[in-house]
Symmetry: C2
Subunit: 451 residues, 2 copies
């Protein structure tokens, strides 16, 4: 038979079991955290009508999208989870209760130029809250609580949720009579972290055509720093000059007002006037989340408030707020930075049952008994020498091996071997389950370990 | 703005939240059951090199596959999870511990002619155990235990795991000197349930060119019925005439020998000589699973033993055994047959917290407190009249609403309303969590309810 050399396409993540188990653990944390806030799981097709996915059209999306014909259908793979959400809500709006809260953790596809740490297939983990006509700002205030819970759930402490409000920026530019240039200016200011304030100023002067005074005002404005109270107090100085600004400030205050009730510590939250999120799409609160020790990664969880989710598909006004985590890239970076906790159990089983007798029945029953106590138990089925059995247990990385020979059977017990310490105990099936559970589950071992 | 009418492609399942929550519950049961037997989760790309996916080539697959170019890459969407598994094992064989046990619950794609109950995108929920060179028959014996646990986990009782061994069939045809026709004969016999024994006989005589005597032998053979012990005893009568047959019978006895140790009741298991699984791929034990009250659905979980997983990609001999559940179709059928349990909670939240005061802080803190007890809690954020709030709770289908007004705040309590009974209790946050947990989680409500 001709052999075709196996390969996985570049730009597609494919993990070995121990890494996959860590990845799944992160998905599990996302799923349970999102669900704990009353978000419903959603699963939309990966393939959609290309016309529908490209309704907004334009630029990078058209270039990157995987688009193909099947029969006479013009199809494409989704490139994000927001467009499919818009379609879903527009299509099913009569059957949904608004505000509609959904989470979706699914793969999306972008045929980008392949490069290190960039993926063509990657998971996004999104939540959105969609209102019918109106959506209270309190929803925007709840989002940081959810981001906080997710990242704490991963085991991270050194992260910061950075928040701004697009209306504050828009209103501020109105004050300077720079309303029409505000898009360009915001995109420039957005780069502050990457290129520094001198280069931002040069672009503002040369490319955006601002006066020295206007550029100075903008740089002074975005340099406002301090505690949330200090930033807000500085912003109060600008009130009364633009309705948009004043509304934005009111919204920002509403978002920060209840942080402690939401359980978000000040140290994990900052009002940051440099954040704009490039997209015109956002109209109110915007969010970015950075890992304090890894600013080079950029934002690991971003989103914001928008006013019109599904304008391409329906006349109904559907405002919303949402965030997205690029999970595949986040996992890749955490792994690369050595932040995945080596202490997290990453074997497929908690225990490997090794039958040491000809008749497998006692070992089968033992495995079932330990498994029924909520443990992951693999029955070793091969006829191999003892040494080879133990080598397999080692390679698998199982924390416990359970040996069952004639002696143990006669005593109604089994030998439980701690693979790390080498300690071996004779226990009943029930005791064995208890012993293993205590060893594995008493401590809540985080996926990520900061150094 | 031009409106594009939203639609979801035909042949693609897209569920409303209450159905999606039931679907997720089934996925959760599959995931935890598979994991409890020590299978590692695997996630391979949905897109692969078309040459690799089509290494085996042939027939329906080539016609149905979604295949497309991107740049100069010839790409395709996976049409099952077995071919990607073969590629994965061939590619990573040096890093895997054998036997390698993996589960994968992922979408696959087949551009079939759209018809009721047939999907172009659907979930398969697979497990496979892959050996390096050898794989003990005990692995084949364990598979029915896993199938049994899955279907019991769903809430089903009236199902039957039907097992046969390809070597018994092959050996039997050898005895009749029909070895060369055995493929055609097995494919014909496989249709027995659908077309009846008269038509099977006609095809055997006319299309396969068998003699009346040969056809009679075959029909007598596949008519062997009874308890497992009775069937095996009848098969013993054929021993000594074909090595293949004798080996198949030995394997079948090994698979049935430990059923009770594996916890599989006789009534959910049957040796059935009519099962062959059309594919040449299988070489030993084969499995089908039928719902006793819905034979028209056909097998809902099928698989078997094979000898060469990855021959297209690697010279290594990799025998294995695996099963697959077509989850999307199963869910569709269960729903259509009215078997989804209406009692299963299918709201996105266990409780909806309704703030009844201007200041939302107490309600926010209450929601956090109840949530921290492990419940799914949605904070209602909109400024609406009481009636509208309750209408939302109703439409969402949440089992409990938690009201927090001035009175409750003054007392340090909240009002917990059971949405079904209308009963309302004043409780502390902790008591509320306890009360709701007791009401929701004390009974283990199955996803599927047989009538």
């Amino acid at each position: 038979m001709d052999i075709i050399k196996p390969r996985t396409l570049s730009g597609f993540m494919e993990l070995l079991p121990d890494k996959q188990i860590r990845f799944e653990k992160m998905v599990e944390i996302l799923r349970s955290t999102y669900a704990s806030y009353g978000f419903a799981p959603l699963d939309t097709p990966a393939i959609e009508d290309a016309q529908i996915l490209l309704a907004k059209g334009g630029g990078e999306t058209e270039k990157q999208i995987y688009r193909f014909q099947k029969g006479d259908s013009d199809l494409a793979l989704r490139f994000d989870l927001t467009v499919p959400l818009a379609k879903y809500v527009a299509l099913h709006c009569n059957d949904l209760a608004f505000p509609f809260r959904r989470f979706q953790i699914s793969k999306v596809y972008r045929g980008e130029r392949a490069q290190r740490g960039r993926f063509r297939e990657f998971y996004q983990a999104d939540i959105d809250i969609i209102g019918d006509g109106k959506l209270d700002v309190l929803n925007e205030a709840e989002i940081p609580a959810i981001i906080y819970k997710v990242f704490k759930g991963f085991g991270l402490n050194r992260f910061q949720i950075r928040v701004n409000n697009r209306k504050i920026l828009t209103g501020f530019y109105e004050m300077l009579n720079l309303h029409e240039k505000s898009g360009d200016i915001m995109r420039t200011v957005d780069k502050l972290d990457k290129i520094g304030s001198d280069k931002v100023k040069t672009i503002l002067l040369e490319d955006c055509g601002l006066t020295e005074e206007q550029a100075g005002e903008i740089l002074r404005f975005i340099a406002i720093r301090g505690t949330n109270a200090e930033v807000i107090s500085a912003l109060e100085g600008y009130t009364g000059r633009s309705e948009t600004f004043d509304q934005g400030l009111a919204e920002l205050k509403a978002v920060t007002a209840n942080l402690s009730a939401f359980g978000v510590p000040e140290e994990n939250f900052a009002v940051d006037l440099t954040i704009a999120r490039g997209l015109d799409y956002y109209t109110g609160t915007v969010y970015e989340t950075t890992l304090l020790d890894h600013p080079e990664i950029g934002s690991v969880c971003s989103g914001g408030r928008y006013d019109n989710l599904a304008g391409y598909y329906i006349e109904k006004q559907l405002p919303g707020v949402g965030i997205s985590i690029g999970l595949t890239r986040l996992f890749y970076v955490l792994d690369e930075q050595g932040l995945l906790n080596p202490e997290l159990p990453s074997a497929p089983a908690d225990a490997l049952v090794l039958p040491m007798t000809q008749d497998a029945a006692p070992a089968i029953a033992l495995a079932e008994a330990v498994r029924s106590q909520g443990l992951k138990v693999q029955l070793y089925c091969e006829q191999k020498k003892f040494k080879q059995k133990m080598a397999y247990a080692d390679k698998l990385g199982v924390p416990f091996a359970i040996l069952l020979g004639e002696d143990e059977i006669a005593e109604g017990k089994c030998s439980v071997k701690d693979m790390r310490s080498g300690q071996q105990l004779k226990l009943t099936a029930e005791e064995a389950a208890e012993h293993i559970k205590n060893a594995l589950h008493c401590s809540n071992i985080p996926v990520i370990l900061e150094r």
